[in-house]
Symmetry: C2
Subunit: 311 residues, 2 copies
């Protein structure tokens, strides 16, 4: 049975666009519960400026108070050298660096060009110097909402440059849900061939409903690592009302039903996903938490037994 | 380029559980607009008792007033002999008969056992006597919400019995969204092998988020006919708040992006899907109508050009 590894990004990617601050106590509790569900990795927070993302201003406190479960990696987003220092102090298991493969998206999102981003991240990687494993999340790999197509060759070029700097893993992100399964297959096939020693993670959004179809295309190609967000939390700033990140539990439920070993406690995961709307104060897109798993049977209407006996 | 054929079921499967009556004028207009979008088939209405499904009490009038576009098949649900008579009068291009492969679901839904259903439908098929092509939709082929597993052998048995009666097509329905892609692949492979001369259609629900992943698994297996519902209208009575039918436009958008020939006018289809919430009075689950197609680009923020020039 193929083992699949899930990284839940609800604490960072999911929470960061929420309007109302989620109290630190709730965050710590949520991370601890995610740990108990069996995630291979949890992106706990981001060491960005508290002014840039006030939701994550309690990064140090959250990292200091969570229970570290053996076998679970606690990763944090590190935007720059100052973030790396803070991440070291927090004893994060992995640093996740981010830049975009689209020049326009990088300018819009990080307010600098790609080369400046690359140089800054290269400096962080040099500073870390192998003391903590590094993952780089490449945004807009399947298309940019402003530029349109991002050629696969551009993604491969940035992947190669980071591989040359000795990173442990790369996350190939479909930041605004533009990927289709055919494109995912081509990208996954090629990157696995070129980087057999890198941990490759795929990060999909369900903005146009293709999230789980893309997961399917990726596992068919041999990918075993995925990002997901509890409840599918994390919207898309370019499309109000549209879904954002794929729901961890929906993806895990599908792969489990298909016979993959996700290493997850699915009933516990669904229970946790059900609690999320209360924590964030609104409905979330995840489906399985609403419908129940396929193993959840429903009682038959009372007239059925009567009809059955009358036959 | 492989041609894919979509049957939109919003008028029947989508509308029948809506609380508020959709006026006949709106229905006629909606069917005519669906015709213009390029659907291969449209399930227009049902010739059930007006008391059982008041929403579709205007079946005759709708069938009489719609514009018949050459190349589009107008199919109707026919539950029994009386329905078949009415369907003949309405000059429907195809009669769609329905029964369930799960005994409990058939009792719950049609208030009779499977054998009684089969006998009744066999009588309809005999009465029609080849004058109009017949399709049979088999419900709960991938699982019953009350019984759980429905063995594939049971589905194959009913498929065989209807094939023996000379039907033109079979629709294999995942009535409550229990199918997973692995199961879809097995079912699709086997049914195509056993019934090479039958029109096989797959009908998926997105109740647990797997709808488009199942479409992907089915096209990979060689299936070229699908049911979908505009906007994803048509909920699941067993899971309030959960999605029902897959959204036609989301599925078509995905297959088009993958390089399949859907024969559809996608901008027109998305425009129509956007109008649906106004017609039914509530939001619908379809994603692409909200997010725009992957080809819809967004303007860059005003500061991006300044940053670009300052580099």
């Amino acid at each position: 049975m193929t083992r699949i590894y899930f990284n839940d990004v609800v604490m960072r990617d999911g929470l960061q666009i929420e309007a109302n601050f989620v109290p630190t106590d709730d965050k710590v509790k949520l991370v601890d519960e995610l740990s108990e569900c069996g995630f291979a990795k949890i992106e706990v927070t981001s060491f960005t400026s508290p002014k840039a993302i006030p939701m994550l201003r309690d990064a140090e406190e959250v990292m200091g108070r969570i229970k570290r479960v053996p076998g679970v990696e606690y990763t944090v987003l590190v935007p720059n050298l100052r973030g790396a220092e803070r991440a070291f102090e927090s004893k994060a298991d992995e640093f996740n660096l981010v830049m975009s493969t689209s020049e326009t998206h990088n300018l819009a999102n990080l307010r600098m060009g790609r080369e400046k981003s690359f140089a800054g991240l290269a400096e962080v990687i040099k500073y870390v110097d192998g003391r903590t494993p590094i993952n780089v999340s490449l945004s807009t790999c399947f298309g940019c909402p402003m530029e349109g197509e991002v050629p696969q060759a551009v993604v491969e070029k940035f992947a190669q440059r980071f591989a040359d700097l000795g990173v442990r893993g790369l996350t190939i992100c479909d930041t605004t849900g533009m990927a289709n399964p055919e494109q995912v297959k081509k990208m996954s096939d090629e990157l696995q061939k070129r980087f057999p020693n890198l941990q490759l993670t795929l990060h999909f959004h369900n903005t146009r409903g293709m999230g789980l179809a893309n997961v399917l295309a990726a596992v068919q190609s041999g990918i075993v690592r995925f990002d997901g967000s509890l409840g599918g939390l994390g919207g898309c700033p370019y499309a109000p009302g549209a879904s954002g990140n794929i729901s961890s539990e929906d993806a895990i439920h599908m792969l489990d039903a298909m016979g993959y070993d996700t290493g997850m406690n699915i009933p516990k995961l669904l229970q946790l996903a059900k609690e999320l709307p209360r924590i964030v104060g609104h409905e979330v897109p995840g489906q399985v938490a609403k419908a129940g798993s396929t193993y959840t049977l429903h009682p038959e209407p009372s007239y059925v037994d009567e009809l059955r006996r009358a036959q």
